[in-house]
Every structure is written in structure tokens, then in C-alpha cells.
């Protein structure tokens, strides 16, 4: 009986405590920078697309919600012809971000993606591409990679030595 009264008193004291509820639409919660929300495709500091259409994200995706088609431009740079993410399937696991070798695909702290029609949840490349480098400001894959493309020969990438002249190795 006494413990019941004590319980009632303690519950009453909760009237003066801080509310736990976050009044969501009026009051936004804090989301960590590494929060896994809406997926974007970033650009390198020069403004070119980072994605090299390697398909690793599509392979890593456990729900197969990423579809893309690789192609090459006149410089020999690979890029996706189309890049489609079906967000009605996406589980925001972040595996695509982990698989991406060029930091192109990134997850952002935004989750307000509600739509009235399911087909509006299919995002095309224009919807996914942003105008900045995202979480990795200085990174440019093509400047580091030793791949030869138009305007950049072998050995011209940063931190890369010029290729060895095979003829000089002859005995």
C-alpha cells in the first residue's frame, strides 16, 4: 500500500520534468554528418562527375535498387549513361557508399523524401547529382588514377612517376 502511494507520488513528479518528445515538423532533430539518408552523386572539384560507372554499388546493393549503364565520353572517361536509384526499395544501408572507389555515391543526412506516388521515388541521375564534392572536398579520381584519358597521358597524374621507357631496360 505504501509503495503504491510512493509510486503515485513519483509519477506525479514527472509533471515537472523535461518533455522527451521532439515536435518534429516544427523542431528538427539533430542528424549526425554521417547519418545515412538520401543518396546523392557528387562531383569532383573541377565540376566533372565522379562516378566512373564501375557497377560496384549496384553489385553491393542488397536490394538491387541501383541501376546504371556505363559509357565513355570522347576523352575516354567512363561515366554512367543513366543512373537510377529506386528509393522505394532502398534500405539506406550505405553499402554503395562503402563500395564506391571514387567517393561518388554518398549518403546525406536528409530523410524527408515522402511522395504520394511510388514512381516518384525513382530518382534519375539529374535528381541524384549535386554540384559539389560532398564529404570529400579535394578528391579527384582522374587526377590520381594512372588511367590514360584524353588530355592526360600516362604518368601525368599527381604523385605518379612517368612510365619507364621499356627500351631503356634492354641489355
Amino acid at each position: 500500500m505504501f509503495s503504491a502511494l510512493k509510486t503515485i507520488w513519483y509519477v506525479f513528479l514527472h509533471a515537472f520534468q523535461k518533455r522527451i518528445t521532439v515536435q518534429y515538423p516544427d523542431e528538427k532533430p539533430y542528424l549526425a554528418p554521417r547519418y545515412r539518408g538520401r543518396i546523392i552523386l557528387s562531383r569532383d572539384p573541377d565540376g566533372g562527375e565522379r562516378c566512373v560507372a564501375c557497377y560496384l554499388c549496384a553489385v553491393a546493393c542488397p536490394v538491387s535498387c541501383i541501376a546504371l549503364q556505363a559509357t565513355e565520353d570522347e576523352h575516354g572517361r567512363r561515366y554512367p549513361e543513366y543512373f537510377r536509384i529506386n528509393f522505394s526499395r532502398c534500405i539506406f544501408c550505405g553499402y554503395c557508399e562503402e563500395a564506391c572507389p571514387t567517393y561518388a555515391i554518398q549518403l546525406t543526412p536528409d530523410f524527408e523524401m515522402g511522395e504520394f506516388h511510388r514512381h516518384n521515388l525513382v530518382y534519375e541521375k539529374e535528381d541524384l547529382l549535386i554540384n559539389g564534392p560532398g564529404k570529400y572536398p579535394g578528391y579527384n579520381f582522374w587526377r590520381i588514377a594512372g588511367v590514360q584519358i584524353g588530355g592526360k597521358d600516362k604518368g601525368q597524374a599527381a604523385h605518379e612517376a612517368a612510365p619507364v621507357d621499356l627500351h631503356s631496360l634492354l641489355p
Binding site: 503504491a4 509510486t7 503515485i8 509519477v11 506525479f12 523535461k18 522527451i20 518528445t21
Partner: protein, 316 residues
């Protein structure tokens, strides 16, 4: 001391009681939220007050479905019984001097009789639903209400002895010098517990016990029939709170403020207290409930009656 405008009193009390009962849904949700560090409904209208209207519209629009296996006439009658019996009790409730529908000289007995009849609503609802959970709920309700009514009546006899009358206005008038909570403290505690059990609210909501019986006797009800059970329950809360005010806390008596304000203040205090109890206490096991009622509360109520009787005899 009947009211000079009987029809006005009837309509006024009916209107106020029903509106308050509907409003209590909002009040209860807000208060429960308050004691659980939440906000509760605060979106619809100022402070979420229009939540009641939204809920009302919703419940009227809902499909009113009668299960094919149910006993149809009884199924329809059961929620009405609850509403009617509880509303009948309001007829003898003195709200302020002159604001009472009918000053019966056995007003207290009338309320006890009506609250006993309310059991029929619950039992018949459980029976006619033709569903084992509903029937179990009805059975529990019958057992619980019969055993708690016994000492509910007995705990009030102390008040009747002190006031020398069964009429509720006379009981209020008898508290001019001292509220009956002081000489009848044990009676008050007993009545509080019995009242909780009589209202079938947590911690004594074993007849509905969501976690064991789905929703007990109103498991099969939908739409406004379910709404009637709910309004009936909230009317019961108001009734028990008002009775505690009248019997133990001097009804409309109080300084400065007009009598009706005092009555409403005290009643709302007890309504809030009942909601607080709901927020705080868990539900006991059914056998604990029964043995508590018969082995502890009933002897205490009898002892209270005997001692009060002896003191009153010695005094005179």
C-alpha cells in the same frame, strides 16, 4: 429542494455531463502524457482541444459492425444499459443548492443501485459477443463489481450515520462544520478503492485487460457502440469523483467562490487523481483482486461501520 426549472436542470446536467465525458478523453490523454514526459494530443485546435471533435467525427463515421455470431438484440442493448444507468445516477447528484434534478430521500441508495445495474451492461456485452475473451471479461466484471459493491456500500454507511440521512443534499449540509474526510478517513480510502474498481479503470480494469483479454467485454464492439462504452466509462469517472466530492469533501461548500465552482473544482481534482492513478499503478492479478476485496477491504469496512456507529451512539 428540487430545482425551480426542472427541465433546464435536466438538460443542463445532461449536456454538461456528456460534454465533460467527451472532454475527458482529451484530458486523460493530455494528463497521461504529462506524467509520461510527453505532450499528448496538441495538434488539432488550441492545445489539441478539437481532438475530441475529430475523435467524435471519426467514431460516428466508423462502420458499426455486429458480428454474425452475436446475440443481436442483447448486443445492441448492452452499451445502452451502461449509458442509461450511469446517467440515471446523475439525477440525484447535488451540484449546487437548487441545481439537482431530483432530491430523493434515498439518493445514496439510488446511486448504489444504479451502479449495480451497470454491471448488466458489461456482463450482457460479454455474453452476447459470443466470444471467449469477451465472456471472460464479462465474468470478471460481474465478480469484481459484486465483491467491490459490498464494501462500497458499507464504506458509505459511516457517512450516512454521521449525516443521519440518505439524501445527498442533506449529507452536504451536514458537512457545514467539518468535511467527512476527517471523521471518515478510512471510509474515504475504502470508497476510493471501491470506486476505482466500480469504474473498471486501471488498476482495476481486469474486465478489459488489453494484455490478456484483448479488450474484454468490448472486444467485438465497433463504431459508436464502442464509443458508448467509453463515454459510459468516463461518465462513471465523473460520477465517482462527484460522489467523493459530495460525500467526503463537502460538495459545494467552500469560501469565497460560488458553490458550483467549488463543486466543479473538487470534482476535477478527483478526476485528475484517478487519471494519475491510472498512470502510476499496474493491474493486479484477478485472484489478488478478489482476495483483497473480500479478506481485507470488507472486514475494514465492517470495522469502520461498527466503530462509527459506536462513536455516534456514545456522542448522542
Amino acid at each position: 429542494m428540487t430545482s425551480p426549472y426542472p427541465m433546464a436542470s435536466v438538460l443542463g446536467i445532461l449536456l454538461v455531463a456528456l460534454t465533460t465525458a467527451a472532454g475527458l478523453i482529451w484530458l486523460e490523454r493530455r494528463l497521461l502524457a504529462l506524467w509520461q514526459d510527453r505532450y499528448g494530443p496538441n495538434r488539432v485546435g488550441p492545445f489539441g482541444l478539437l481532438q475530441v471533435v475529430a475523435d467524435g467525427i471519426k467514431i460516428f463515421m466508423k462502420e458499426d459492425w455486429i458480428p454474425p455470431f452475436a446475440d443481436k438484440p442483447v448486443f445492441i442493448l448492452a452499451p445502452a444499459i451502461i449509458m442509461v444507468t450511469v446517467l440515471m445516477s446523475f439525477a440525484v447528484l447535488p451540484i449546487a443548492p437548487g441545481i439537482i434534478i431530483s432530491d430523493l430521500n434515498i439518493g445514496l441508495l439510488f446511486i448504489l443501485a444504479m451502479s449495480s445495474l451497470a454491471v448488466y451492461g458489461v456482463v450482457l456485452a460479454g455474453w452476447s459477443s459470443n466470444n471467449k475473451y469477451a465472456l471472460l471479461g464479462g465474468l470478471r466484471a460481474a465478480a469484481q463489481m459484486i465483491s467491490y459493491e459490498v464494501f462500497m456500500g458499507l464504506s458509505l454507511m459511516g457517512v450516512v450515520l454521521l449525516a443521519g440521512s440518505f439524501s445527498l443534499p442533506a449529507i452536504v449540509e451536514a458537512q457545514q462544520k467539518i468535511w467527512f474526510i476527517v471523521p471518515q478517513f478510512l471510509g474515504f480510502v475504502l470508497f476510493l478503492i471501491a470506486g476505482l474498481a466500480e469504474m473498471r479503470r486501471t488498476p482495476f480494469d481486469l474486465p478489459e485487460a488489453e494484455s490478456e483479454l484483448v479488450a474484454g467485454y468490448h472486444a467485438e464492439y465497433s463504431g459508436m457502440k464502442f464509443g458508448m462504452f467509453f463515454v459510459g466509462e468516463y461518465l462513471g469517472v465523473i460520477l465517482i469523483s462527484a460522489m467523493m466530492t459530495v460525500l467526503f469533501f463537502g460538495g459545494w461548500l467552500g469560501p469565497v467562490l460560488p458553490p458550483i465552482v467549488w463543486f466543479l473544482l473538487k470534482t476535477f481534482f478527483f478526476i485528475s487523481f484517478f487519471i494519475l492513478v491510472r498512470a502510476a499503478l499496474p493491474r493486479p492479478r484477478f485472484d489478488q483482486l478478489m482476495s483483497w476485496g473480500w479478506k481485507v477491504m470488507l472486514p475494514l469496512a465492517l470495522a469502520n461501520l461498527v466503530v462509527t456507529g459506536a462513536v455516534v451512539l456514545a456522542w448522542r
